[in-house]
Symmetry: C2
Subunit: 333 residues, 2 copies
């Protein structure tokens, strides 16, 4: 009897203790970050702005952190994932557009010749974006994005695109939110391309996603109010557009900004120029083995002037190869 | 000794009990609402969407409520308060613009002839808005608005404009937030005209304020990054623009919408057309003694088609005279 009670007690004790240990392990912030000066810089900033009575204390309402998406929260090679979505949509819509067989840039996409398709530069890209992103209601577009993101696979890794997010950045988002930061996405990508999955994948709700957009129009169709997506640019949330988008949507200056390319430079400058403690960070893609290695001369995610500015202004630069234990979540297992 | 202990106990008891009573009284929702079917409709909606296990239960993330500002959260007579701000700014800026003495609509404003000033319609209003809202940085404009809102007085009541808010609506905002709703302002007024004081007065932070806007441009001035306000319309957040603005900023459909005029009709239609429980409410200005009485034929806050639709769709209509015990906060005392 005594023995049995003792075993019972041990089982009880283990049952109570184990989940709490598991919980503690999970609560350790930034587990996938190596213990480098980068990780220390993040923790030191968060601790000083959240410590009541500290001269650097920032009230909860002002704890706004902004994150670029492509190359900062998920990979962006061999091309922006939204560009792959556009090409997939062109292929899916081709039967309804027989004229695309001979009309550039669509003809090249249908032949699988991406290089020729994008040779037309911004004009070609915008034409393809409009042909695939406009002409339906917002609800319909949400369904199209949701279907694609649930099934499409990355050409190199064969993984879902939502599995190509950066595990250390997911932990950083969670760590900031645990410290009562409000986390926003501020991306050059399409606002409605990110919203259908950003809450599930990043924990960022639709109202905290800022991005590029096309115009929409309110209509009553068969007695049902809809918003129709028009083939007309509304806003480009890139470079000098990022502080504009931040002001438009958030209406106050972030105290922390996270990017990876020259497209994020003005967002970091705008953030850094506020009064009081500020934190600016660039993700430098330095890991050819586990992800990609590129910076100053890359067409995608070019990091040149922003890297200069980071050095000059002592912004934090993540060296992916050295600072990150794990890149994508699958490596955890 | 016994007596003293008893008295001590009574003091202790009173000291413990009184604050808790005070607290309870303050926590009673919608105190300034009479106990009419309007108040009951609000409470019944909130209770059914927040009751776990109820077929009408709505998860916290989806509890989005949108509020018009002019005529819904504060008064709007004898003209929109932002129009008075514009006239005050024209007077303040007149010494720097000698040409305004003879140039309409400015000349009429400077003569105190508001009727002639606004006779030029939208074109004149936009011209005056641009002359007073553009040409400075966002930080400078915030300072101008903050100074005005802290000092300017309403021409009829002599009160600060922030004292012309509706006490019952402040309680409604608080009641919804206590039930884990996220409350947004969706106003035809200027987004940057509301943000400097909306958090203090309504408890609505800048990132939850949606409104009309002009374009801004990022610049580095003397090494300092600024956003400059340009004399160019960016977005009109009124009528069919309201669902567009809601989608742009929030990215999901509200479950509750509160307005007072035909300018809010599309916002209410968009809200009502979603699946699941919805709540739409119009504030009908029926109290000539305590506030103003106007609807179908008013130039400001015209309520005509939306009132028809409210009757047809069984939306809730506030009869200010009957439903509200108190209109402005000062009447509480």
């Amino acid at each position: 009897m005594m023995q049995s009670t003792r075993i019972h007690f041990l089982i009880m004790f283990t049952a109570v203790l184990l989940p709490s240990l598991a919980c503690t392990a999970q609560d350790t912030p930034l587990r996938s970050w190596n213990d480098t000066t980068t990780k220390q810089a993040i923790i030191s900033f968060v601790e000083k702005v959240t410590r009541e009575g500290s001269p650097d204390f920032v009230p909860v309402a002002e704890r706004v952190a902004v994150f670029d998406n492509d190359g900062t929260l998920w990979s962006e090679q061999p091309m922006y994932f939204q560009a792959i979505f556009i090409f997939d949509r062109i292929k899916a819509l081709a039967p309804q557009h027989p004229e695309w067989k001979t009309q550039e840039p669509f003809a090249s996409v249908l032949k699988g010749d991406v290089k020729s398709a994008i040779a037309g530069g911004d004009k070609a890209l915008i034409e393809m974006a409009m042909a695939t992103h406009a002409g339906m209601t917002t609800e319909e577009f949400k369904g199209i994005v949701s279907d694609w993101i649930a099934t499409a696979k990355h050409p190199k890794t064969g993984r879902l695109y939502t599995e190509m997010v950066f595990q250390p950045m997911l932990e950083l988002l969670a760590y900031l939110r645990a410290n009562e930061f409000k986390t926003f996405i501020v991306s050059g990508g399409g606002i409605e391309f990110m919203r259908p999955w950003a809450e599930r994948v990043y924990g960022v709700p639709p109202e905290q996603v800022i991005g590029s957009s096309i115009k929409t129009k309110f209509e009553i169709r068969d007695g049902n109010p809809v918003l129709v997506r028009l083939p007309e640019l509304n806003f480009i949330d890139d470079k000098a557009g990022k502080p504009v988008g931040i002001n438009q949507h958030i209406g106050r200056r972030p105290i922390a900004a996270f990017g990876n390319s020259d497209g994020d430079l003005q967002m970091l400058q705008w953030t850094a120029a506020g009064k009081g403690p500020r934190f600016c960070l660039l993700v430098h893609h330095t890991d050819a083995d586990r992800e990609w290695k590129y910076d100053r001369s890359s067409h995608i995610g070019k990091l040149d002037e922003a890297l200069e500015q980071a050095q000059r202004n002592k912004w934090t630069v993540v060296n992916m190869q050295h600072d990150w234990k794990v890149i994508h979540p699958a490596e955890k297992n």
